[in-house]
Subunit: 144 residues, 4 copies
Amino acid sequence: MNAAERRVRDSFARQTFMSLLGARLGRVSPGEVDVELPFRNDLVQQHGYLHAGVTTAIADSACGYAALSVMPDDAAVLSVEYKVNLLAPAAGRRFVAQGRIVRSGRTITVVRADVLAFDEREDARPVLAMLGTMMAVRGRGIVD
Amino acid sequence: MNAAERRVRDSFARQTFMSLLGARLGRVSPGEVDVELPFRNDLVQQHGYLHAGVTTAIADSACGYAALSVMPDDAAVLSVEYKVNLLAPAAGRRFVAQGRIVRSGRTITVVRADVLAFDEREDARPVLAMLGTMMAVRGRGIVD
Amino acid sequence: MNAAERRVRDSFARQTFMSLLGARLGRVSPGEVDVELPFRNDLVQQHGYLHAGVTTAIADSACGYAALSVMPDDAAVLSVEYKVNLLAPAAGRRFVAQGRIVRSGRTITVVRADVLAFDEREDARPVLAMLGTMMAVRGRGIVD
Amino acid sequence: MNAAERRVRDSFARQTFMSLLGARLGRVSPGEVDVELPFRNDLVQQHGYLHAGVTTAIADSACGYAALSVMPDDAAVLSVEYKVNLLAPAAGRRFVAQGRIVRSGRTITVVRADVLAFDEREDARPVLAMLGTMMAVRGRGIVD
């Protein structure tokens, strides 16, 4: 494991909210990070599908770490903004958020993510599309 | 409690994810719904602030129920899309997501939310701004 | 030219704003529509780059017609919402907005677009990414 | 006219695209800038309403200059991203985009805008809501 992957994995481990969800890191490579989540009955909205806040949360983490994976050692990553379209009810046995860099800059990195739902046959379909903006910060506040 | 408020409260009670977060409904009036959340250490990102997925989740629920509160009895509400700006680190003792209707239509309702963070003195500051699109559905799929 | 392509081209021809910009339709196939635009000095912002409103306008038209290209004959298309990231200064000799369907539904169609800038050597680079929501309407108002 | 207002008005005058649209600056005060636009038949989409690219363009300019109005003298403003909801068909005799600062920071400024349509009686209704992100740059590229 190289230094960048180590940094991503150490930081993810400090996101106690990912632990609460039961989410774990999958693939970590430069500009590409996956976050995986098994379905649980305590993560749903009123119709029994995964709550949009849950799919958004794993997409945000996947995007943030995709951005961090190519940032300098002394930089931290913060989410400036994101937008999501919910493509289908989030029904499935497990979910994978695939965070990818669209455009990487010194301060601003534009990212996107797809969240895929896998059913019992391991057939996948997209349930969420995210487009977002991450920022490299060096010892300063979130959007300052 | 009138029928619309009853319907909102019943539906919110079925969102098991809100229970997992420790979130509860506050104000419920036509077109205006608040969701409240006390801080907890298992809801944070790597820097100790509330995870953006958490603030987004309560904002989404507040917006969805603001929309549902003015929909006909036979309609269900589904989130089509939303976008958020994260305005400041989500530090605080408790948080309130204020969902409001911007424009209400037969099929599409445009909504917004502010999430406020309250510190120990009960001083508030905004940490998230959401603009989103909700859809009234009648026995059909989410975006069909 | 089939009926769907004819419908797209007839509708585009009624968008007087596209004429004002000097934009024209490129590729029109099911779910995929391109809009092309040569650079002009009267389309710029304060630094001499194409105004973000211009690149957004051709991306919106490309997305709307990508959605319309797969809608039933009696449906019209309206933009519900969109969001864009500006990836780089919009410098170039010509620009192409590539509208694509992400997920097609009966009422709601989710779309995306990339706007590419071509320089004098015909090298391309992306300057805008759009994610948006289109709606099929049948003789009703825009978001009603 | 103070230095900040002068700077906004000089910069706006260099946006040739605003001239092409027939848009002009209205109110310019710290954090609040209005852009006004009379209706014209060459600014419409296929149903005869103002094209969404037009209302987005004046909203983007209003937001950018709202941000610039509170930035240091040596900073330029660039749009990082924005998202819009189209609330109603953009029918009217004239339109006003009201750009406002939501949260101002050293590098990132979060902005919003409403576009109002005025009919022949000067009755107004909102047709577009924007939420966006502007960036202060000092001699560097757009998102670098």
